[in-house]
Symmetry: C2
Subunit: 298 residues, 2 copies
Amino acid sequence: MDDRFIAVDWGTTNRRCYLLDGAGTVIETFRDDRGVLAVGQQGGGPEAFAAEVAAIRARLGDWPLVAAGMVGSQRGWALVPYLSCPASGGQVAGALHAIDARTWIVPGLSDPRGDVMRGEEVQLLGAVAAGLAPPDALLCQPGTHCKWARMEGGAVASFFTSMTGEMFALLRGHSLLAEFLNGPVADGPAFRAGVDASADGALLKALFGVRASALLGLRAVGDSAAYASGLLIGSDVRGAGVGAGREVHLLADPVLGALYTAAIAQCGGRSHLIDSHAAFVAGIVQIRTQIWSLARDC
Amino acid sequence: MDDRFIAVDWGTTNRRCYLLDGAGTVIETFRDDRGVLAVGQQGGGPEAFAAEVAAIRARLGDWPLVAAGMVGSQRGWALVPYLSCPASGGQVAGALHAIDARTWIVPGLSDPRGDVMRGEEVQLLGAVAAGLAPPDALLCQPGTHCKWARMEGGAVASFFTSMTGEMFALLRGHSLLAEFLNGPVADGPAFRAGVDASADGALLKALFGVRASALLGLRAVGDSAAYASGLLIGSDVRGAGVGAGREVHLLADPVLGALYTAAIAQCGGRSHLIDSHAAFVAGIVQIRTQIWSLARDC
């Protein structure tokens, strides 16, 4: 029982807290909207984050705590420098930022060609650690900022980010296309037509076509959102070099997982859907094991 | 003196009114913010547009009037059907929508592959009519929605639209990149690096790199806006198939004209800058001449 610890996946908007044992059994978990921005809006600063963590311990027990994600950014609890790729689980554990003797923040990763992540590295390393993905693999984490990571020998060798989800939200929320993008988004003929259309690479041109085709009656307005989603996800998948025979391990919720699975298949690739919560837990347990091991070595 | 007429380039946000003679001499002109949206906000409807035109005639004289642009859209004075490409000046003049015996709206054009324009067709046809561009040419009208038109025998053979300018505004106004995009946009090393980076076609990935490179100190934050502009304009130019030896006739203001000129040159093409006001005047004079000629034939 005394190998219990708390893990926090602490993002910009939301966070998920886990009470785990050393084997990765989830004893208790909850999710709420106390993301980094919400804490920041109530004053922020180290005291605010310390108070948040005290509240988490009051709820889950007074255990050691490891937090990952935007909590380690300028807007978070402390600015933890990025660890440069390639980066293994051991290197990440060795670069933890200690708030105190029982509270740590996981560093984000940088790709020296010009990219950054905070939090996703735990899932990536955990997917391999738990045997959910092979040590050499292409992993994809769809979302607001979709991450594509090349794993080599179980380490994050390189990665890049596409602003696929954010772009869809921008178009739906603020663009001239907005009024055409209220329809449902699911795999189907309209989504697949969008994935097809993404092949010519001229995204700015294809996007305007969403509006024009609706105005001309060439596509039902209700199909436009699925078509635009296909365009964006198709561009993302092609931009990652996914083609004939390429395997992709997807860390995704069921909705985005289904869309990326369809787009990858349409581009000739094959995908494997991985439970991203299980990957996070495996990753944080691996890191926690390294902390204890490092502590024993001291 | 009795061949005078009024031309209105009546867009979404602004409009420009001209008092012209039959030879295209600009006797008087003014620009204001009484675009289609502004008229719509004060009630809209045919009466509102009729009142606007009465006010224009009160200022410029009680002459025949020809209006082009979004004034012919659902949000404008009357919904004028698109004329399908290929479309010559004569065909456009023959498809004018008559509000009354001395007031006309120019129809927009559609490309059957899925694109639309309203207003730009007058500049395109006028550029050729005035000898500012050859009858067979690739014309480009940079802006919020950049139009690329293929002219054949002086007619608009086909065209497409890129949402280049709108995308930049979306990113600067509403995206996670916003805080990095306040710097100046001009031709220079950062802009050209963006045009270079647009070559790999993965725009969603390159855009996120704007933020990541600034965070990692790989690019000065003050250079990020010029770099992002280069990415978008480079994508636009490449998406139009501009490569070695390709000639483009640009209908642009000096600022966008300079950026597109630089990007086209970097992609191996050559550009010629055309005065878009002169092209509009030439186009509307050509249409007006056709109206008078059609009237005589009846």
